[in-house]
């Protein structure tokens, strides 16, 4: 499986996702944002970080960059797209995903391990997980507070487009288990065709027992098969 990781000035989780993809046996390429052509890829990853320093608004400038036109084209032809953290923010800026990510509710950057629950395992990204499976996963963001309009929220629920929700160790959704104030504890969403996933948590940080755990691996193995 061929993957491409788009690198913007200010991306800083590009190496991490690159290492994770290679570890999981993807044939990965790093693609600099100024390149006008994307290599042929089955998966495009937009990594975390602070593209363009998050100036103006997180993801806003990257969302208008040259390579993004190629990403949109690829997305429309069914290529799998994964946006992690800043990548999720960029995807909402391009319109590939609806909704937006606001400043965390407590106005502070937050980095810690939290819990999320798999809400739909019937997708190319999640089929190796069980429904309702709880993952311990790392988050690191300042703007992860997912928000959208009522209509989109209804659609997300009805069409089963919510990928993950923040919960506690036992799987309970409530305010305490919501680290950033996200609407309905939403941690990640799909587009209608379910070929695009945007998520705030970092699965690439959870593929190595020595530094954390392996709760993120099944996301990658799902994509492989």
């Amino acid at each position: 499986m061929k993957s491409s990781v788009i690198v913007f000035p200010g991306s800083n989780c590009d190496r991490d996702i690159g290492v994770a993809l290679e570890k999981m046996q993807f044939k990965n390429q790093m693609v600099w944002h100024k390149e006008a052509k994307l290599p042929k890829s089955d998966l495009i990853v937009i990594p975390g970080g602070f593209s363009y320093g998050d100036y103006l608004r997180s993801g806003a400038i990257a969302g208008k960059s040259l390579i993004i036109d190629e990403v949109i084209k690829a997305a429309n032809s069914g290529c799998l797209i994964l946006g992690i953290c800043n990548g999720f923010q960029i995807l909402t800026e391009t319109g590939l995903l609806k909704g937006t990510l606001l400043r965390n509710k407590n106005l502070k950057f937050v980095n810690k391990d939290i819990y999320i629950k798999i809400m739909n395992n019937n997708t190319k990204f999640t089929h190796k997980y069980k429904n309702d499976q709880i993952l311990k996963i790392n988050i690191a963001h300042n703007e992860g507070n997912f928000f959208t309009d009522q209509k989109h929220l209804e659609e997300l629920k009805k069409e089963n487009l919510i990928a993950f929700k923040y919960c506690d160790e036992k799987g309970v959704f409530n305010e305490d288990s919501n680290p950033n104030g996200s609407l309905d504890n939403i941690a990640g969403i799909f587009n209608t065709n379910k070929n695009i996933l945007g998520m705030m948590p970092h699965p690439e940080r959870m593929v190595d027992e020595i530094i954390s755990n392996r709760d993120g691996t099944n996301l990658f193995t799902s994509l492989l098969n």
Binding site: G10, N12, D16, F50, G53, K108, F109, N111, R205, I211
Partner: protein, 717 residues
């Protein structure tokens, strides 16, 4: 323009220093030249009060590749790998503008590390605030923590550890020390020493603005009630540009284009060009009209003294300009040849083809003033405390008082604002004795810890100086790392005051003694004097950042108890030294007396023996005993664990407060499985190490035989 006494004074130069300038130049300086002298001769850049003492520190060892004097220290960790690290203060700017002050502190130290060819892999910090009740503390704390996080998170280097402390001595002068650690290939270290004549001097990075002019001079004077007016001298950080600059520099460093490279830190273009030329024994000529400027009509004076961030000066090999420029173009950074090296041994500054200033390099560097300031030795205080005279309290209450004090309480509020996991090599984060960082793609790791003991240093600087080195060394040992070298950040008050100078000299004597004995050399560091406001000086606060090596990494050794019913040992002797302890401070507000004595032989033997036990996989968890004594360390081991402990009644020391809260040094708590106990005891005995088996781990309860029994879940958490 005639240089009046008033102008000289405004530049922070003493009358006799001005006379010396005239003598060196054999004429009066113009304003530009005076500004340059003031930038190079201030305390911050010239180390004029400290040099004479710093020279005494041990800086060599077979693990040392580069000691003090470069942008950062470099040590050998085997194979091809080198670790580059340094700690630096940004106290004055952070007090005036906490967010930017702290942020640019992080930015500056990162540049010191990647300038040498290392990719930064970890950030740490030591931040000290006034009393939590002081009206400024909350906003300063907020600003500093956001600033540290804002910079490190954006650039994508994990902030993995450090210390956040409170003490009223910092009410009007906080401390913000930032440490960066990088990894480089041993044969690809870059230095600042210029070589060769007529080589291109290249300016790269951000444009120059009017920010930070005379920042280094500000850091070389005490604060007064008008300190707020100094806000414009604080630089503004841009971590995004720094990220680009870092990537561009590291890319350029892959081949052999660079002769020398130096970041523009304190005193910006001035100090970087002078340092490169002085180390190389050359001259340097700059055409200032070529300097990329952010603001219009900047004068040579402003350009030379600006402390705008995220800039570097590079001396390139002939013919490499085009290829190098391509890399900086890719990263959207300025790249301009602004001058050349010369054989004149002068700093020559041209503007619109006219020479605006010309100063012999040695006048700025080696001939800068050096003072042997008068100092007085601190008299040892008497320990006349009798514990029987104190009001009776319960052990449980005393412990809770310590654990809930600002200096001991959980700091997740702080550390959760730092990205500790980015780069995916953080094995152990803050909250442990040391952070552990894996060397990317290898099975070895380094341990890093930052420590200080201002109260000990205040009461007896010589002992205090020794103690922090030892505590830092212990913190590396307990995670199974062999301590290799340290960097130090020496935060003191006004050196013109003999008592303060004495604190400095004696702390350094202590650091020297301990480093020499433990073969734990100092490879980099920074001195920050004039920490005080209106003649009120801070406690002497040397901060030690140590790096150790874990050769083959298997699993992290944390201080949490790991199993049920394993034995708990204390390595090292408990005497029950209570003076200067947290116990007396938190429960009785007693601050007098001497700190615990340091026995370097015991430190060395106990530490090295514990490393042997760890290397033989005999240790389940270990923790050094420091502030708060044995009981505090034990409860910290239960805190994030499922297991508590049952501790026997002490056999020798009958006063329980002395036994549990005494802060005797050279001690460790070690958890050892019953099956391994015999082997471990044999090793301890063979090495003549004093130890005691003080109890065992158990589920659910933290128990002191016959004294207290507390469920760990409800009480410790």
């Amino acid at each position: 323009m005639i240089i009046t006494n008033q102008i000289v004074e405004k530049h922070g130069l003493k009358h006799e220093e001005f006379e010396k300038i005239k003598k060196l130049l054999k004429r009066d300086p113009n304003l530009l030249e005076l500004g340059i002298f003031s930038a190079m001769w201030n305390e911050h850049c010239s180390y004029k009060s400290s040099r004479i003492h710093l020279k005494k520190l041990p800086t060599k060892g077979k693990q040392v590749i580069q000691g003090p004097g470069e942008n950062a220290g470099v040590i050998d960790i085997g194979d091809d790998d080198a670790i580059v690290f340094k700690i630096e203060s940004h106290n004055h700017p952070s007090y005036i503008e906490p967010y930017q002050g702290a942020a640019t502190g992080v930015g500056g130290i990162l540049r010191d590390v990647f300038t040498m060819g290392a990719r930064p892999i970890a950030l740490l910090n030591s931040i000290h605030f006034g009393s939590p009740d002081h009206y400024k503390t909350k906003s300063l704390l907020n600003g500093v923590v956001s600033g540290i996080g804002g910079y490190g998170n954006c650039i994508g280097i994990p902030t993995v550890g450090g210390e956040t402390k409170f003490n009223e001595t910092y009410n009007e002068n906080i401390l913000v020390n930032a440490m960066a650690v990088g990894h480089a290939k041993k044969n690809k270290i870059f230095y600042s020493k210029a070589k060769g004549i007529n080589k291109s001097v290249v300016y790269v990075g951000s444009k120059t603005g009017r920010d930070g002019i005379h920042g280094a001079s500000m850091a070389s004077a005490e604060f007064d009630e008008n300190s707020e007016d100094k806000k414009p001298t604080v630089q503004v950080g841009d971590p995004f540009t720094e990220k680009l600059l870092m990537e561009a520099c590291l890319e350029l460093m892959k081949d052999n284009s660079i002769i020398s490279i130096q970041d523009m830190g304190a005193a910006g273009l001035t100090s970087s060009s002078v340092e490169m030329a002085s180390k190389g024994g050359l001259g340097i000529e700059l055409e200032l009209d070529k300097v990329p400027c952010r603001e219009e009509n900047m004068t040579p004076y402003e350009m030379m003294l600006s402390e705008s961030q995220e800039r570097m000066l590079i001396i390139l090999e002939d013919g490499k300009e085009n290829a190098a420029k391509k890399i900086f173009d890719k990263w959207d950074l300025d790249f301009v040849v602004i001058g050349k090296t010369t054989n004149t041994n002068n700093l020559t500054l041209k503007f619109n083809n006219k020479i605006e200033g010309e100063i012999p390099i040695e006048a700025l560097a080696s001939k800068a003033p050096m003072y042997d300031r008068k100092w007085i030795r601190k008299k040892p205080q008497k320990n006349n405390l009798d514990i029987k005279d104190l009001k009776k309290i319960k052990i449980e209450d005393a412990l809770i008082k310590i654990l809930s004090s600002p200096n001991h309480s959980n700091k997740n509020w702080v550390t959760n604002q730092y990205d500790q996991s980015v780069m995916c090599d953080t094995i152990q984060k803050s909250g442990s004795d040391s952070a552990i960082i894996r060397i990317h793609n290898k099975d070895k790791a380094i341990a890093v810890s930052v420590d200080s003991s201002a109260n000990y240093c205040k009461s007896h600087p010589l002992t205090g100086g020794k103690q922090i080195v030892c505590e830092n060394w212990r913190n590396l040992i307990t995670v199974g790392a062999k301590p290799l070298a340290i960097t130090n950040c020496l935060n003191f008050g006004n050196p013109e005051n003999q008592e303060i100078m004495g604190e400095f000299a004696e702390c350094l004597e202590g650091i020297r003694e301990a480093c020499e004995f433990l073969k734990y050399p100092v490879v980099s560091g920074n001195v920050s004097f004039y920490n005080g406001t209106n003649k009120k000086n801070i406690h002497p606060t040397p901060v030690i950042g140590g790096v150790g090596l874990i050769k083959r990494f298997t699993k992290p050794l944390s201080h949490n108890f790991k199993r049920d019913n394993s034995k708990i040992l204390v390595i090292g002797k408990t005497f029950g030294h209570l003076e200067q302890s947290c116990f007396l401070k938190e429960n009785y507000s007693i601050l007098d007396g001497m700190p615990p004595e340091i026995n370097l032989l015991n430190e060395k033997n106990n530490g090295e023996c514990l490393l042997k036990l760890i290397d033989k996989n005999l240790v389940l968890s270990s923790h050094d005993i420091s502030n708060g004594g044995l009981i505090t360390a034990l409860s910290e081991m239960s805190l994030n664990s499922n297991y508590g402990a049952k501790i026997y009644k002490p056999k020798k020391l009958t006063n329980l407060f002395k036994y549990f809260f005494g802060e005797d040094q050279a001690r460790y708590i070690v958890e050892i499985e019953n099956n391994n106990l015999n082997v471990a005891e044999k090793i301890l005995k063979d090495n003549n190490i004093y130890y005691e088996i003080i109890g065992f781990t158990q589920k659910e309860y933290f128990e002191l035989e016959g004294e207290l029994k507390l469920p760990i879940k409800s009480y410790l958490k």
